[in-house]
Amino acid sequence: MPDGWLFLQASLASAAISAALVVAGARVARRVSFVGAEGSALVGLVCGLIVGYAWLGFVWVWPPLNALQRLLQLILPAALLIEAAACWPAVPRRLIVGLRFALAAVTGRVLWQGSVYLDPARGGWSQAWALGTLLGCGGLLIGSWWALGRLLRRPAGTSVVAALGMVLVGGGVATMMAGYLKGGTAALPLAAAVLGSGLALSLVARGRSLDGPLSCGVLGLFGLLFIGRFFGGLGTPAALVLGLAPLLCWVSELSWLRPALKSRAGLIAALRLLLVALVLGAVLFQAKQAFDRDFRPLLRAVPVPPPPVAAALLDRP
């Protein structure tokens, strides 16, 4: 059974560690190095993730046996290494863009490794269908990553990281309610670390790039929804809606809306988060209904006795 209190503890620990390291790193960076603030965000992310997953009792296995382990032990570390390289001005920007593109392109394939989807003989899909799905998913990931990266550099860019964190939590809960408890749980330290490092960085080092938290968040969200859809019980509509939800932040950039918002970061951020929250609410409502229909009978909770006032009303002739 999911332990909400444990999830909260792990998330708070993850966010606190990430934020604390970012703040400490930013103070050092002022005296030491230009790239220190972004680098400290990555250090904060890594430590926040390690603490969060350790708190939840995740076990690390090598080589990774399943898709979730491949995401946490291969894909996310690769993303963090690319962002670490991006912190150095000497590294060409085109190389970083190319590496991000390559990682996005292979993520789906890596997550499917050893599964039935790549083996028609074991009841999997045809090669054409599998390739088409991987290309489609890869395209969505690359497109989202690029679009959110562009938005990061506009007013209220931090709200993009916040929206990503919200969707990660929502996606995790939806995956849990669809039946894959561990997959959904994995979203929580990730969301916390992304939020902790991203928000702390934007507060203590304004103008610094939030690419590190963004990359980790985008790849983590894609990976978790991909795993929830293809290995868990998450439906295709829910996975697509959740995956594309952060792009609702672009609504604030509509030409007819921008003058009304007058580049006020607070207003822009509030609008973006509200739109994302509305969509999340709809998805989670639907997920809860499906959970109550399919899984609640399995849990067969002991009926909670009504409160005294209600009991008295019920006893009236």
């Binding site: 059974m1 046996l65 039935v116 039946g179 408890l181 795993i227 290995f231 019980g233």
Partner: protein, 192 residues
């Protein structure tokens, strides 16, 4: 004359070679899914048992009655076919918290050694489940062959106990459902 005696000798050797006694090699049986079952039960909250079965199983075994150590047993169970008489639970069992059917679609057993024991065979082999292979040993009771219509049939039964934690199942999912599962296999093999 010499050529004739050589030919007669060669013919005699061939006849001996193809005589019924020498022809006795292992009999190969195909698993008969219609008259077989692979079922299991696991503790629920340590107060009762949940029962289930796998509906799609394939296998083959060869029995060498002259030299039982040359017999082999092989079974492959499709994880997707898990059936606990509850659709939602079956779907949950297929997910990565339990069997992870999309990643590990089959449970496979291949024997490595067999020896005759009273009432059947003691079989040792490799069981691969959830991406982990471990050696197990169990006793197969049965092995008597009968002829039914134009098919020869042989039946076996066995019970064995496995721990999910030995096969890399998620430890956090071991709690309400017990770690240990009892597997009951009753199978028939057939050959023409």
């Amino acid at each position: 004359m010499r050529r004739l005696s050589t030919l007669m000798l060669f013919t005699a050797v061939c006849l001996v070679a193809i005589s019924p006694l020498s022809l006795y090699a292992a009999d190969v049986y195909e698993y008969d899914g219609v008259h077989s079952s692979v079922s299991f039960k696991a503790r629920h909250l340590d107060i009762s048992w949940i029962h289930g079965r796998f509906n799609e199983v394939q296998g083959k075994f060869s029995l060498d009655r002259e030299d039982p150590t040359k017999s082999t047993f092989q079974l492959s169970i499709k994880v997707d076919s898990v059936d606990t008489a509850n659709k939602a639970r079956d779907e949950h069992l297929r997910q990565p918290d339990y069997f992870d059917a999309k990643q590990f679609p089959t449970i496979d057993f291949q024997s490595t050694s067999v020896k005759a024991v009273k009432g059947g065979y003691e079989v040792t082999g490799n069981l691969t489940m959830h991406g982990t292979t471990r050696e197990i040993t169990f006793v197969l009771l049965g092995g008597k062959e009968i002829q039914h219509r134009d098919t020869k049939r042989v039946g076996f039964s066995t019970e064995l106990s496995l721990k999910r934690s030995d096969y890399n199942f998620d430890k956090s999912a071991i709690g309400p459902i017990g770690d240990e599962a009892l597997i009951i296999i009753d199978c028939e093999g057939m050959r023409k």
